[in-house]
Symmetry: C2
Subunit: 253 residues, 2 copies
């Protein structure tokens, strides 16, 4: 049942069985996708909003809100709920006089994060990797968000283990380790593929194999961070299709 | 994002969004599949074993071993581990003088439950249902078992939430309710499809929609139980393909 030869991670010394992906920024374009949903929302309500700036500001609330959970200052709460709280803050920043918008309408806009477009190489690359490896997300998103994203974008994941299943947010070691455990794998048999060096560093500290994929437009044309890999990752690929080629290459060839 | 019209459950009064399946017996043929693995094992070790009887006896240990967990007599333990314990008992029954077989070889035979053949209608039916509904297992198996089963058999699940994620065994209400919660759905928006009336009764008590699919050869040609539906289920289908037809029928047509 072991199938053809798979990639052996130099850093973990194990044959990789599962390739898991960070999602926001790595697999899908949250900036462009959220901005589109914000534009439609603004049109429906007759508002003038800089949609790309709105997306940027909404995302900027992300790490601080996760940190409140990671630090133990608040119990675990779904990313959907954190996004919803942050939405109200950002809406107040962008609309001096916040118009009367129903909670249902805000819930609808909050679902923007469920329906984001994949980068052009994501689906083909993941489908190719799936031919030999278990594939799935390893994301701070909750399971239902990742499920909607997969069905909407056609991402052919084998399995979806959201942050509400592990009960914590990356870069907490449990995010990586509990995911590997649920897959029945040693951490070194699991590879994290991500566009963010800090995520890869945490995965590596937890004993996972690692692959960097640059997403130089994640934050738009003036992006300064994560333009290149900055660690000793097992693989440094130009795209997910390129990662697939590296993972499917016959090591004896 | 709601898509075309979906089935509305008469019993829950909700539109069904996810159709989840019992697996052993409903989606895959454990009896024939396990017997094949047992035959190969017997050949490797020069043993004479009645493979179908062995499969039957191994499965007969299943409910009692789950009951030890359900009753609180032992903490939650993976189904893989219960299968492994039960394997040693059944092997001792079938081979008067148990030959020296390495733990690795027993682990290998224990994986029989990961690699079982689907019934002829399972893949086509689930693929069709997936076109409009979230699909997944709702099984007592652990996540890695269900993942191996899906990859081996080509079952195109959207999501896999194993018993090690809910932390309990059916028919505990939490099995059904926690699964719905992780999907972000009301229990009445989730349908359980199963070949076992007792499983459907428990799901219905937890507020889920229900569909019966007979598997009259699950226990072989002399099967006496679950030949017909024995409850007021939302749907009573002849096969998973037939269930797909019922779920995809335009209610206005």
């Amino acid at each position: 049942m072991s199938g053809p030869v798979a990639f052996c991670s130099p850093s973990t010394g194990k044959v990789v069985r599962a390739v898991l992906f960070d999602t926001f920024g790595t697999v899908v374009d949250w900036r462009g996708g959220v901005a589109e949903h914000v534009e439609a929302f603004a049109r429906r309500h007759g508002l003038t909003i800089d949609a790309l700036q709105f997306a940027h500001d909404w995302r900027a609330c992300y790490q601080p809100s996760l940190e409140a959970v990671r630090s133990g200052n608040r119990p675990f709460v779904l990313l959907d709920e954190l996004h919803r709280e942050n939405l109200e803050k950002v809406l107040a920043q962008h609309c001096r006089q916040t118009p009367a918008i129903s909670p249902n309408e805000l819930d609808r806009l909050n679902k923007a994060w469920h329906y984001l477009p994949p980068w052009p190489d994501s689906i083909a690359g993941i489908a190719a990797i799936k031919s030999r490896y278990i594939t799935g997300p390893l994301s701070n998103a909750n399971t239902s968000l990742l499920l909607d994203m997969a069905r909407y974008s056609g991402i052919p994941w084998d399995v979806i283990i959201g942050s509400d299943i592990t009960g914590c947010y990356k870069p907490a070691p449990r995010s990586y380790l509990r995911t590997a455990e649920l897959l029945g794998l040693h951490p070194g048999e699991v590879m994290l593929a991500a566009a963010h060096n800090t995520d890869l560093a945490a995965a590596q500290r937890s004993g996972l194999a690692t692959a960097f994929i640059p997403r130089r437009l994640e934050y738009g044309p003036r992006q300064q961070t994560d333009l290149h890999s900055s660690g000793s990752w097992d693989l440094d690929a130009a795209s997910i299709v390129d990662l697939a080629a590296a993972l499917l290459r016959d090591p004896g060839a």
